[in-house]
């Protein structure tokens, strides 16, 4: 049956086949050295976090009081030990799991929820638009850090509360971007043409609008990744996110603060990881923006 269907299809000469928009984006991105370097660095960090149990030399939660705050390069401890005598390399590898998850999950959730709300507001317009956008304005009236602290502070310390707070903080900017691009695309002639030829709203959104708005929304959301990672680790740093002895970069920065007088380099190591991830994702997001030629 499949074979007969394929026979019915008109034969397209291969040279006419468009290589596609995304093909162009990827090849432009791969030509940019900075973006490629960032992809390699982020890929290595993600892989080492996933495979932490296989490559880490020790146990992230077991330490020895006798081995406290060993310097970098001490035999058996490549990056030294922390204030409870736990291997730093192991904890940095495991710490990436929690820090990356708490950075990525809120952006993903906000992208889904905010993208949907913004598209609806932009496409439907009228009262629906007014209700959604004015609600978003109120959340926007709060600076992001303050709102994240307020919500997770009121809900109480804990991972779920922190993820919820970050998602709420990240939704409004995504709604604004999605609403504005949807409004622009909705005005275009091909949407009118689709409506004139009898397409329903859902079909128009799915077939004509989504393809044109996902790019800008996605690029914008990728720029929020670094904000999310810094905020998530920051909330853990002040004690609102991950709880000890969970290895998490922000929390490790906090518990290592007492070691700043004896082992200043070790006490700064978790922050280096946060900085690298945040910088690489910002640079990659910039590279993606220019590869997709999205105007801000």
């Amino acid at each position: 049956m499949i074979a007969s269907k394929e026979k019915d299809r008109p034969v397209v000469p291969p040279e006419v086949v468009s290589r596609g928009y995304w093909h162009g984006v990827i090849s432009r991105l791969l030509r940019d050295k900075v973006s490629v370097a960032c992809m390699i660095i982020l890929g290595a960090i993600v892989l080492s976090a996933i495979f932490a149990p296989l490559i880490a030399p020790g146990d992230p939660t077991v330490g020895s009081v006798l081995e406290r705050l060993k310097p970098i390069g001490e035999p058996g401890y490549l990056l030294g030990t922390d204030e409870l005598g736990r291997d730093m390399l192991t904890r940095l590898l495991y710490g990436g799991r929690m820090s990356l998850i708490t950075g990525v999950v809120p952006v993903t959730l906000a992208l889904i929820i905010g993208g949907a709300l913004g598209t609806i507001a932009g496409y439907v317009g009228g009262w629906t638009n007014a209700v959604i956008m004015r609600t978003i304005d109120v959340i926007f009236a709060f600076p992001s850090v303050l709102l994240a602290v307020a919500i997770s502070g009121a809900l109480g310390a804990g991972l779920e509360n922190m993820l919820l707070a970050l998602t709420i903080v990240l939704i409004p900017p995504i709604v604004r971007i999605s609403e504005s691009v949807t409004t622009q695309v909705r005005e275009l002639d091909f949407v009118d043409a689709a409506r004139a030829s009898g397409a329903g709203s859902l079909t128009i959104i799915r077939a004509h609008i989504l393809g044109n708005i996902l790019g800008p929304i996605f690029v914008y959301s990728s720029s929020l990744l670094s904000v999310s990672i810094i905020l998530a680790s920051g909330l853990s740093f002040i004690g609102l996110g991950a709880k000890p002895p969970t290895p998490e970069w922000g929390l490790m920065l906090n518990t290592l603060r007492s070691a700043i007088y004896t082992q200043p380099v070790i006490s700064a190591l978790p922050g280096v990881m946060i900085f690298i991830v945040s910088l690489a994702s910002n640079l990659l997001s910039d590279g993606l923006r220019s590869a997709m030629d999205v105007q801000r």
């Binding site: 009236a141 992001s144 200043p264 978790p270």
Partner: protein
């Protein structure tokens, strides 16, 4: 023009009311009884009812909100459960410190950012431009609480030049304009300035590069003006936008300094928030967030109103 001002002002009113409602509803986000912090575990029902009435928690929620809003308008933000002092007093003591820290950081951010942005924009495409862009993106990507720790490790621990925490010798809270006090604000202000420096650099760079590509600049060059005179024209054209960028940043700095204030034990509203959260002091949390959020709304309003006055090209109707 006045129509725009009136509209902008009128728009701020419902936003302020909604912000206050959101702050008020924080109580209902909090798990458990907001009074559990003050009540003994074995309190009898009578005592609970009595204290509930004292805090006004025995009335229906909308009534509680109206009463709370009415008191808040007159400056009464309730009593801190932790310290027993008035919330307004606690915030009053802390907000000056935060404002000073944020102002210092804004000044650093604006000066350094404008300077870097101008040279990068002027020599757009050069190595200088690339180095400055790298600094700018690092500024916005750096976890600033970590930058604070690194600065403490270098300037307090290794070099012993500047104090690591607090706002005055011997834990004193009195501020004075002498080295003994100013040295305490240097590290937190630099730490807090990282993000605005990056943002101002990026905006000024884009502005200057954009202005330089305008036709009137080509005309100035053709007229035979010196580079310095041309640069003056460019600065005049980009200054209003740069000022509005830093104005909005000041609001973010005031409200976002909780992490930096925690690192340096700086006695501002951020440290107050930290205390409120971990002592589960909901009135203090509500009050501090309300004041900071209203400050942010007010500052944005001010920037929106000042911008067309500073830059007559922006005509808003």
């Amino acid at each position: 023009m006045f129509g725009y001002f009136a509209k902008r002002l009128a728009y701020a009113v419902p936003v302020c009311i909604a912000v206050s409602a959101l702050c008020f509803s924080l109580v209902y986000l909090a798990p458990g009884d907001p009074l559990s912090a003050v009540l003994p575990a074995d309190a009898s029902q009578e005592i609970i009812d009595d204290i509930k009435a004292q805090y006004g928690l025995d009335k229906p929620v909308p009534v509680q909100y109206i009463l709370w809003l009415g008191r808040a308008v007159t400056g009464d933000l309730g009593t801190s459960i932790g310290s027993g002092r008035s919330v307004a007093l606690e915030i009053g003591n802390a907000i000056g410190n935060s404002l000073m820290l944020a102002l210092f950081a804004s000044i650093i951010g604006f000066t350094v950012g404008s300077f870097l942005g101008m040279i990068a924009g002027y020599y757009s495409g050069s190595t200088t431009d690339k180095v400055v862009s790298a600094i700018a993106i690092s500024g916005v990507s750096i976890p600033h609480y970590w930058l604070g720790i690194v600065l403490v490790a270098i300037f307090s621990v290794e070099l012993n030049w500047l104090p690591a925490m607090g706002a005055g010798a011997g834990g004193s809270q009195e501020w004075a304009w002498d080295w003994e006090h100013v040295r305490f604000i240097i590290l937190p202000a630099i730490t807090l300035a990282a993000i605005p420096t990056g943002i101002v650099t990026r905006s000024v760079r884009a502005l200057v590069a954009d202005t330089l590509s305008k036709e009137f600049v080509t005309a100035l060059i053709a007229k035979g003006l010196t580079n310095r005179a041309i640069f003056f024209h460019v600065v005049k054209n980009s200054a209003p936008t740069a000022l509005s960028v830093i104005g909005v940043q000041l609001g973010y700095l005031m409200a976002g300094s909780i992490l930096v204030e925690t690192v340096f034990s700086w006695p501002g509203t951020g440290l107050l928030l930290n205390t409120a959260i971990f002592q589960r002091d909901i009135p203090l949390l509500q009050g501090t967030i309300l004041v900071l959020a209203l400050f942010f709304v007010g500052l944005n309003l001010l920037v929106d109103i000042l911008q067309p006055l500073l830059d007559p090209r922006i005509s808003r109707t």
